[in-house]
């Protein structure tokens, strides 16, 4: 519903500018340079939204071509009009004018890679048969030239029933003035005339379309052809018509699968066309191409993969840190300034601890996420993503995933949010859901402060052989996260996501230099989505968390604090007094928190967590961490009255001396190990839930993921504590 409203809004904002006289669909094979052509034609005048009801992105750009204002719709890449994924289905549905909020395109701009005409011609023939005005942009004209490939454009136009063909180079802009001129005239161009590749099928399509039109059902003859040929065709017709079609199928195709017969027929035409149009000459293999080919061999490719991942991790964890620290310092400095400037009370606390801390916690993730998105986009645009998937497919398959899961899963060691957004490259729905549910198990950067605190406080500094015990425990937590994710993927494969083994068919694009402009635009786009989806949730959660920790206020705590301050001022002076006053304030914050809704919640649920060895303070901190796990350290700081920005050392000492009312130590080794396991497995991140909701387009999966991971974390912590305390 939300997505639909958004689409309508976008269309409205577009209307403010000049009204477009027509809509052009930009269609092409994946990796044919379609987005680069689209970006070059529309520039920054484009809008991104989702198609109603699906997570496929809709890119529309408006531009003026030789005096004609046109809307260009960039459709997802597809090899044919037989859809195999949600993306391809949208492309086909838009072409047939079946998508709410997107008008049926008046004309088609087909974008085809000159160096892969073989597959391109298959799609071109299907597009021409739609009988709409059309032009073709043949991209990579320079690469074709370099490879010694000669294309006879006039002969090609003849084979395509008069459709005009324009060789272009998207990176340099060569050929674009001619293409723009042609787009300006395309609405009035003569629709192409092409002899049907399969006259019997065309006749069947036309006769059904005509017959149904009499009943008021308006369907394009090509749609009927799709229904006849393709078991996954998306045109909806009633059961009676399906029976009519089934009866016609036998006569047309015999015993063979219709799609196979169609492919044979069309490639016969493709081969005839290639023979007339393309003279391969001697394909020249450049030194660069030979090097890339060598690097694609399994072992060199493994080295490249490891190096590439090392650079990504270095960037996300090291290069992003100075920016992150700067933002953290800025946010907390601003908070301190607000508290010093405004009179103490709810308003100053809300602005400093609610609003500024909330915005801060969104922005603080930006440097890491920016780097992560940048690398994911670079891998997509260079074609490396597919190469990495090819390399590790075997290994990933053994754990119930596929090669395409590897980059999202590795990304989630930094942050699950961009990782889950990156699962869109996985065409198979089962693989995609399994990857989305495995991703939050990976040890993200928000878990590290909690790990660092607990390990620093409770794991002894000792070496086992050459290994440091603290480091070993941290490594163990990473392994536990991976095991949790892999175990979940395997479990899902044999339960909720059971079914046929997914097939893995992957086009491996040539290595290509990324285009700065395209990368920049994609990066802006994803950051916008992150800010809108995750940012709003993180901010809202920060505000709610503030309310829960601030209210209700207890006058007796303030009274006790004031009395203590008076006593202290009377008996102490200088630095000793300042330290005493600070202690009094921290104690008051801790007492307020104990009486706040969060504190009460902690005391209320304590019985549920006692079997895990947690007292109400730990329980309250864990509850506070459910929306965003990284706040736990700050909440523990406040609860143990050492201040929310105390250093780990101070807080660690306080934790070590925490006891139950009967004097037993709270933080025993089994309890700490259980708590760490809980953190490794529990899904304490509202932003991740929001993104799962968006990417699966359902509430079911985020609810399932949260419940499943919480139960898993709880059970793990329970077992460790109970067995360890025996």
């Amino acid at each position: 519903m939300a997505a639909r409203a958004e689409t309508v809004v976008k269309v409205e904002t577009l209307k403010v500018h000049r009204r477009a006289t027509g809509t052009i669909a930009v269609v092409g094979n994946p990796n044919a340079g379609k987005s680069s052509v689209f970006n070059r034609l529309t520039g920054l005048r484009q809008r991104t939204a989702n198609y109603p009801g699906v997570t496929v992105e809709r890119h529309v750009g408006r531009s003026v071509f030789g005096g004609t204002t046109l809307d260009l719709v960039d459709l997802p890449g597809t090899y044919s009009l037989s859809p195999n994924s949600a993306d391809e289905r949208i492309a086909v549905d838009v072409l047939f004018g079946r998508v709410v909020g997107t008008p049926r395109p008046d004309a088609i701009l087909a974008v085809i890679d000159s160096t892969r005409l073989y597959q391109g011609l298959y799609l071109l023939q299907q597009l021409v048969e739609l009988g709409r005005p059309m032009i073709v942009a043949l991209t990579m004209a320079d690469a074709a030239q370099r490879e010694g490939l000669k294309i006879d454009y006039t002969a090609l136009e003849e084979r395509l029933g008069g459709v005009r063909v324009y060789p272009v180079v998207a990176t340099t802009g060569r050929g674009f003035p001619e293409l723009r001129d042609a787009l300006g005239r395309v609405l009035t161009a003569e629709p192409p005339q092409l002899r049907p590749h399969w006259p019997e099928l065309r006749r069947a399509g036309e006769s059904f379309a005509e017959k149904w039109r009499a009943d008021g059902v308006s369907v394009h003859p090509v749609e009927v052809e799709r229904l006849l040929v393709d078991p996954k065709a998306t045109t909806v017709v009633d059961a009676r018509r399906l029976v009519e079609l089934e009866a016609a199928r036998g006569a047309l195709f015999g015993a063979e699968p219709p799609l196979a017969v169609e492919a044979r027929n069309r490639y016969r035409w493709v081969n005839e066309t290639l023979a007339k149009v393309e003279s391969p000459g001697s394909r020249i293999v450049s030194r660069g191409a030979a090097l890339v080919d060598w690097l694609n061999r399994p072992w060199p490719a493994t080295v490249v993969f490891v190096l590439a991942m090392a650079v990504v991790f270095q960037a996300v964890f090291a290069w992003a840190t100075p920016f992150k620290d700067l933002i953290d310092a800025g946010a907390s400095g601003l908070g301190v300034w607000v508290k010093a400037t405004l009179p103490a009370g709810a308003v100053s606390s809300f602005i400093a601890d609610g609003a500024i801390a909330g915005v801060g916690s969104v922005v603080t993730f930006l440097p890491q996420i920016l780097f992560l998105f940048l690398f994911i986009i670079l891998m997509e645009d260079t074609g490396y993503l597919a190469r990495a998937a090819f390399l590790v497919d075997r290994a990933m398959r053994s754990v119930g995933l596929s090669g395409q899961s590897v980059i999202p899963l590795l990304s989630s060691f930094a942050c699950a949010v961009p990782a889950i957004m990156a699962t869109r490259v996985i065409p198979n729905r089962r693989d995609r859901i399994a990857t989305i549910l495995a991703a939050p198990f990976m040890t993200c950067s928000a878990r590290l402060p909690v790990y660092a605190l607990m390990i620093g406080a409770f794991v002894p500094v000792r070496t086992i052989g050459y290994l440091n015990l603290q480091g070993l425990v941290l490594f163990g937590l990473y392994v536990i996260g991976i095991l949790g994710g892999v175990g979940t993927a395997l479990l899902l494969r044999y339960s909720l996501l059971r079914g046929e083994h997914p097939t893995f068919i992957l086009a491996l694009p040539e290595f290509r230099m990324p285009n700065v402009r395209t990368v920049g635009m994609k990066l802006l786009d994803r950051i916008r989505v992150f800010m809108r989806r995750a940012g709003t949730v993180i901010f809202a959660v920060a505000v709610v968390a503030w309310v829960l920790t601030y209210y209700p206020r207890s006058p007796e705590v303030d009274a006790a604090r004031d009395a203590a301050r008076v006593t202290a001022t009377a008996s102490l002076t200088g630095a000793v007094l300042d330290a005493r006053l600070a202690d009094i304030d921290k104690q008051a914050s801790a007492d307020h928190l104990a009486r706040s809704w969060l504190g009460r919640a902690g005391q209320f649920v304590e019985p549920a967590f006692t079997p895990l060895g947690w007292d109400w303070r730990v329980s309250a901190a864990v509850i506070a961490g459910f929306p965003a796990r990284e706040v736990v350290v700050a909440v523990l700081g406040t609860i143990y009255a050492v201040g929310s920005d105390a250093d780990d050392q101070t807080l660690a000492e306080r934790l070590q001396s925490a006891t139950w009312p009967d004097g037993r130590v709270v933080f025993t080794l089994p309890m700490v190990l259980g708590l760490l396991l809980f953190y490794a497995w529990c899904l304490q991140c509202a932003a991740t839930l929001a993104v799962i909701r968006r990417e699966t387009n359902s509430w079911g999966w985020p609810v399932f993921a949260w419940s499943y991971m919480t139960v898993l974390g709880y059970t793990g912590a329970l077992l460790i504590y109970q067995l360890g305390s025996r």
Partner: protein
Amino acid sequence: MTLSDLKPGDVVRIESIETDDPAVQRLMVLGLVEGAELRFLRRSLGGDPLEFRIYGAAISLRRELARHFHVAPVGSHGRAG
């Protein structure tokens, strides 16, 4: 001989196809039809999936799928290079 039995560098022509599997039909849409010439480039880590080149396009599929395509060698002068 099928597409799963090749040595890197082999160039073959598809002779016949077991078309029942929908994934096979999808590969046919991508150009793996009878008469098409392919060059086998390499196996990935662990021997699977396989990489082929078909008229300028590189494509990867798993062995289990490659078995549905029966092929004959054509030497190394085909257009698949």
